[in-house]
Amino acid sequence: MGKSLVNKDLKSLVFYILFFGSLLFFFPFVLSDFRLNLLGKFLSFAIVAMGIALAWGYTGILSLGQGIFFGLGAYAMAMYLKLEASGPDLPDFMFWNGLTSLPWFWKPFKSAPFAFLMVIIVPLLLALIVGFVTFRRRISGVYFSLISQALTLVFFILFVGQQGYTGGTNGITDFSTIFGYQLFSKTTQHLIYYITVFVLFLLFLFGSWLVKSQFGKILVAIRDKEDRIRFSGYNPDNFKMLIFAISAVYAGIAGALFVLQEGLISPSIFGVVPSIEMVIWAAIGGRTSLLGAAIGALLVNTAKTFLSENFPEIWLYFLGILFIIVVRFLPEGLVSLFNRKSSFSNLINKIKLSLGAKYVRTS
């Protein structure tokens, strides 16, 4: 037993090194700038997916509102960038919406440190509030998921409606510099790519540490039997709030990195659809594995780009079928293919179960 454990750890270690090594030393040298920029964007998505793995995979909280947090992080960053791009003028969209002066809540975003802080604080606070009003009232499972979906819609409507303050449907776009450097110069973009990889790595380490800790075990226990954990003396509400907030912060940070590379943010990210897609990334890759979820985000988005570029008129079929196949046959996501042998045979068993022995239940 001990031996195979070591083996497994060694194997994963090799895998981690390969993964992050190739992000650092391989892709930047073989990909064109455009593709590297895409990859950087996908890496920011990978961060969202890791957050989802923490909340959903480990704790059983399926949030269909990650787009909100991603969006808030992105808007915080975009507000700073927009102010920097506008110089002394009012941002263009405010002007054509008839505003005459900068709204008070925009003002502090002139400061980069403040904006960076807000990238974390705003999602964190909102998640804590949402967590407070739902988990405390023991709203969980599907209820929570669908409430978070409704919230997404609320945010969408509000951001679209407050055009003068948010840029409306257009969102915030047209940036030029960051700290005075050209945002879209080759060097800046390369640097941002490396920062993204680095952040991904840090958040991966942090997440791994979390799930290995006692805290992580309690999360799994909550996923299993939330009611029971109370009788062991834990208050699951607090645990859930914290992990949900952490996953929100992951999304917020990802949003900020996204804006830096995409050069725009719009409320469409608050839409119901992007939030569902985020969950799908994690599911496809493997919701109970941080790196799995991250890889899911990379693969799904690569596939989406590849398919939509090559089959612009019918790519949705492929994507739809891909989702169905993975969910149907790989409930643990694609990582289960790469895991130890025994997991692989587990998968085979699962397939077998679903093909033949439908009534087998393990409870």
């Binding site: 075990k217 109370r230 003396g233 834990y234 607090n238």
Partner: protein, 255 residues
Amino acid sequence: MSELVKHILYIEDLTVSFDGFKALDGLNFYVEINELRVVIGPNGAGKSTLLDVICGKTRPEKGEVLFYEKIDLKKLKEHEIARLGIGRKFQTPSIYEDLTVLENLTISYPKKKTVFSALFFKLSPMDKEKIEEMLHFVGLIDKRHLKAGLLSHGEKQWLEIAMILIQNPKLVLLDEPVAGMSAKEREKTVSLLKKIAPGRSMVVIEHDMEFVKNIAQRVTVLHQGKVLCEGNIERIQNDPKVQEVYLGGYKVATN
């Protein structure tokens, strides 16, 4: 704790009703510190409901539920009650199926249970030893790395008992701990309970009279949400009302 406190559990006039049906009906129930109390009674008498109220799962309609005669349990949440030192085993085994046996015990271990302490929690070698010992005791040492969901019914029962005991509670509530256990395990449970009994109070619900006889000091019989009769096992066995509503012709062999 003041010298005068005699009862760890002080319940008076407790009433619980569900849509008009009174599961507990003005129940008075007192358990002394360090007492092992057995509660029996017909199916549906309200035994599990009583435990539900004590550990905060069910809120009563009226009545007093005091811990050490002064802490009002009605006002507390489940985890707060658990932290006071009240551990409960459920009627059907309730464990974390996706965690290993070992992890099930580790998270039940009585250390600070706030969010932040959990982040930095580490078991000391002594704690580990205690857990190992407990695993040995309940015969799950070989299965400690197995996912708990894969245990058989009886093994799950054992695991849950171990989880309660490792919490080292002042008051242990056990709902039918030997249901589904084989004779051997029943005997083991008896000795286990006897071993852990000193220094703590216990309320045990059981239908297995053999088992009851082996552990009981004082037995309470509930019926229709009220106490029907209370006393030692002989007295209970010979009470005609108890025989009528509960025992039937059953007689525990005297050995």
